[in-house]
């Protein structure tokens, strides 16, 4: 206490009239906020440990609890805001880099919210998806740019390996280690049921999940954790992760305390050793180097699986994507700056990278201009929050979207942004067995399936409204979009007109 004291961020408000002292909150809080005072016969709380994950609020049977932001504030100052000052206090105490989790919480522009979708009126009929066929299926991979014939003039039907998706959404990379076994099980089961894919992230593939291989993207990242021949063979596609939207330009660090048991075996590193993914791939310093890795992976899997290259959306993304499209990769995944990490320094998360909307539009345009758009499919990620975001992304040129935060929310995540503590009360970002069991994959996979089915219905409704009956006809169809409150430059990059034009 004293100079290093920072007043707790949240207050635990307990309605004494309602609290029946059942102690459910106490048993459910891994941060040990709640306790029972036998002397007073009431529940008490230590709000300094509270991260506002809402587990106690959700399970309290009498709704006696709520968590509110503390109003103990420093003197108001528009420049030196409360949070800014407290971060300085924290760093003055610790001498360390600040650490947080999940996506960028800053009020930076969300372009999805400034883009509006068209609908048909009079001159072209809308389509009712309940009465007429509506196609949401997409194929990701290299597409032929011309009709090809063999020496006898017969059509050549051969095509590069493709991923088939029942709807243009996939669960993006979250490693086993950063999230729990049960979270992975939920994602794998839901992806299989939905006919879409989930992504292992850089943690290898647990032996129990090889059976979901045809709905799995296996990732190869800079640490090469868990990569071996069977792993590459197991997936429907292989993803080379060059960067991630929340922390472009830096690697990853899963602390040794989380490298236990199955996580250690799956990552193929000793128990208790830190899993450090370097910032660069040490064998990739150019597009030519990337091409070598792309073809090494293709060679290892007999050219049967598409290779995805995932990059963070940064300033020169269009030129970078152009290079990747010439590297032999089949799919480019672009991760915008609002993507959620399992742990990232907030300085990077909040200040590095560019919005996915602008990155996606500029990449799609660049690849079209250069006549290489058919070389690759584009996957957009980094805070796709709803079916309308998916529609807008597809109209800006995406073949499919990656979602992760939305999927975790379906699994119970309440966005408390403290994944790095490993004490996730919802059983998602933790390896503690007593917490992991809180996520029952029967419930988790069902909720993911519900969410994706709901989005698919909405996608069909919105497409029908536009008079479009297949995702293929929507892709890159920027005439279906209008901007509101955007300047000429922004509209130019997005390649859309302003509302009213």
């Amino acid at each position: 206490m004293g100079i290093e004291f920072i007043y707790p961020e949240f207050e635990v408000v307990r309605d004494r009239d309602r609290c029946i002292a059942c102690r459910v909150c106490e048993r459910q809080c891994s941060n040990e906020v709640h306790s029972y005072s036998p002397v007073r016969g009431v529940m008490i709380s230590d709000e300094s440990k509270c991260v506002n994950c809402q587990r106690c609020v959700s399970l309290c049977p009498t709704r006696a609890l709520k968590i509110v932001k503390s109003n103990c504030r420093l003197r108001e100052n528009a420049n030196w805001q409360d949070e800014t000052v407290k971060e300085i206090y924290k760093q003055a105490n610790s001498g360390g880099v600040l650490l947080s989790s999940m996506g960028n919480p800053k009020p930076l522009p969300v372009y999805w919210d400034k883009i509006l979708i068209n609908a048909s009126q009079v001159t072209n009929p809308p389509i009712d998806p309940l009465r007429e066929p509506m196609e949401t299926k997409v194929f990701l991979g290299k597409k032929p740019s011309a009709v090809r014939r063999d020496s006898e003039g017969k059509l050549d039907f051969s095509i590069s390996p493709q991923i088939e998706l029942a709807m243009p959404v996939m669960f993006s990379a979250m490693s086993y280690g950063s999230i729990s076994y049960n979270a992975h099980a939920s994602l794998a089961r839901a992806a299989t049921e939905l006919g879409i894919l989930y992504n292992t992230g850089e943690g290898g593939l647990h032996e129990d999940f090889y059976k979901y291989g045809s709905n799995t993207i296996v990732q190869v990242a800079s640490g090469r954790f868990g990569v071996h021949e069977d792993y590459l063979e197991a997936g429907a596609a292989i993803e080379i992760k060059m960067g991630q939207g929340a922390k472009p330009g830096i690697g990853g660090h899963l602390p040794g305390t989380k490298i236990v048991g199955d996580v250690s075996r799956t990552r193929m590193i000793p128990e208790g050793s830190d899993a450090i993914s370097p910032a660069p791939h040490h064998d990739i310093y150019s597009i030519e180097d990337l091409r070598q890795l792309v073809y090494s992976l293709k060679e290892a899997t007999e050219y049967k699986k598409p290779v995805i290259v995932k990059v963070a959306a940064v300033h020169n993304i269009a030129a970078i994507a152009s290079g990747i499209a010439r590297s032999g990769a089949d799919i480019i995944a672009i991760d915008g700056f609002r993507g959620g990490p399992g742990a990232a320094p907030p300085r990077l998360r909040d200040n590095v990278g560019i919005p996915i909307e602008l990155a996606l539009a500029s990449v799609d345009q660049r690849l079209r201009d250069e006549g290489i758009r058919n070389n690759v499919s584009l996957v957009a990620g980094g805070s796709i929050r709803s079916a309308s975001d998916v529609i807008k992304a597809v109209a800006l040129g995406a073949d499919a979207c990656y979602i992760a935060t939305a999927a975790l929310l379906a699994l119970g995540c309440h966005l408390c942004r403290t994944c790095q503590s490993g004490k996730c009360n919802w059983g998602i970002a933790t390896q503690r067995p007593d917490l992991v069991k809180r996520l029952n994959p029967d419930i988790g996979s069902e909720r993911l399936i519900n969410l994706m089915s709901a989005w698919r219905h909405e996608i069909m409704e919105i497409m029908g409204g536009m008079g479009i009956n297949s995702i293929e006809a929507l892709r890159g169809n920027r005439l279906m979009l209008r901007g509101v409150g955007l300047n000429e430059k922004e509209l130019g990059i997005l390649g859309i007109s302003h509302a009213g034009e």
Binding site: D17, R18, C19, I20, A21, C22, R23, V24, R27, Q28, G41, S58, L59, P61, T62, D434, K437, R438, N440, D442, I443
Partner: protein, 146 residues
């Protein structure tokens, strides 16, 4: 017939089932009114230790030993449900002695009570099942009853 089964793999030991049970059988419409500042007498009990927990309630045995042992003839079985006629119970605790699951216990009034699958109260379905946050307690038909 449908029975209450416990999947200990998913039991969190939160004890919500005990409180939901006590509330369901209180006959009151408000949990605060029913349970606040009172000792609760649930018909389901969470047992276990630091590494495992599970809820235990009446198994509604095929051949209930509690029924055989009841000196007052208060326990009977009909339609697969073992019930207790609390007006006949003399409180001798023999059923407590013989039940291998510890499924019977005295209520607030000292008279024995047990899980009757919420068929006797206003719930309609076992309250422990509907209130379980992790589907650790389920109410379902299984082909191979114990």
């Amino acid at each position: 017939m449908k029975r209450v089964y416990v999947n200990e793999e998913w039991c969190l030991g939160c004890r919500l089932c005990e409180y939901n049970c006590a509330f369901a059988n209180s006959g009151l419409g408000d949990m605060v009114l029913a349970l606040k500042d009172r000792k609760i007498f649930p018909r389901i009990h969470v047992e276990g230790n630091d590494s495992i927990t599970f809820a235990v309630s009446c198994r509604h045995c095929t051949d209930p030993i509690c029924q055989k042992s009841c000196i007052a003839g208060a326990i009977s079985k009909a339609d697969g449900v073992v019930r207790i006629d609390r007006s006949k119970c003399v409180g001798c605790l023999t059923c407590v002695l013989v039940c291998p699951y510890g499924a019977l216990s005295p209520g607030e009034d000292g008279i024995m009570q047990k899980c009757e699958l919420c068929l006797e109260n206003a719930c309609g379905a076992p309250a422990c099942v509907t209130g379980c946050p992790n589907k650790a307690i389920v109410y379902e038909e299984r082909s191979d009853p114990e």
